[in-house]
Symmetry: C2
Subunit: 234 residues, 2 copies
Amino acid sequence: MEANFKHVSFEEMSGIDEDYDKECKYQVSQLIELEGFSAAQALYYHNLETNPDVKEPKVLVIVGPGINGGDALVAARHLKFFGYDITIFYPKRPKKEMLENLTLQCENISIPFIESLPEEFGSDSYDFILDGIFGFTFKGEIRSPFKEIIDQIGASGIKIVSVDVPSSWQCDEGNVNSTYTPDILISLTAPKKCSEGFSGVHYIAGRFTPKFIVDKYGLSVPPYEGCNQFGKIN
Amino acid sequence: MEANFKHVSFEEMSGIDEDYDKECKYQVSQLIELEGFSAAQALYYHNLETNPDVKEPKVLVIVGPGINGGDALVAARHLKFFGYDITIFYPKRPKKEMLENLTLQCENISIPFIESLPEEFGSDSYDFILDGIFGFTFKGEIRSPFKEIIDQIGASGIKIVSVDVPSSWQCDEGNVNSTYTPDILISLTAPKKCSEGFSGVHYIAGRFTPKFIVDKYGLSVPPYEGCNQFGKIN
């Protein structure tokens, strides 16, 4: 399905975000809650399908400094409520009220925060890494400490689940920094141009896009099942 | 399970709401989104279990002037995205930004708003009424037009699904106004004292209560299945 799916450019996705704000009056805290929940639900079903014996997967959630990090904090909280064994690594914490609130909500439910990646960091360390470092707006060079973190997770052998875009990829140009390719990609609202050739497992999260936005940008609608908040396209 | 479940008083529920705000820093737009989604999901599964042949149930969502109405607007939007045939009746619309935004989000996805209940209003009109008129803070007399609306829905023979508490019931005292008893109750966070003797179908919606709040108020935890946001207790 990936090949026939509409992949949006940076400009189109920026336009959609503006329409969510101006035309839909979606509040950031509302939208981020829906996005993070959708991502958590996609991972939950993915694990159920691929590792049904692992009831409490160990997931390391890596949180970047922006909105993509906020999505990851929301997903971490919901996964914890689903019974997952969650750890958060959040190396750069901006002083932004919304992100501080989302952090508190994770601390409040006893999710441990680690200060660095474990010294012995390999495929046995976690069942999944949920990568919420950078989103579709990332451009330019990867600065420290994220350069080292991205290299380490890429080399770890742990299954990587990227939220929205693989961190360090550019929305239109793709993996220009020659970093890792995730096993699983959970695109928010629509797949981005960078994932056109992606051959891993691909979910679209976000069953909240009104038809007028679907029509305006010519989006493809994922095959949503039941009341699921995600659809699988690859 | 109802009989063994902790039912909270008005004072306890007010304390929980204060803790959601002060201790969890849950934003109203975030919490209402979670509550409304949970209620929509509970109704979705309820219909799947009881009316599996009705794929696109007709639901009249009645929206009151406060936060309970906000929950109902969120539930209406999600149910529409699930493919339901939704109509909204929202007779008194306060000029509050959050409620106006939630209203716009329903208008944006072509949910029709009606100005009065249909003249021929009986058990064939809708599969369900989602009652989001009043929540657990309701006290005193039922004013017009809600008095007439509540009488009409009670007499309609349509299955009524109440969000949080049956509208016009008082949290601690119950059905003091001798109005209707719903078929299905979707309590938010915890069942209220008024539902202690309730014998209908009862869901608890809201898988977002941290353990410290569960412990502080001695709450019972519903049997959440999978990644469902609701648990069935009756």
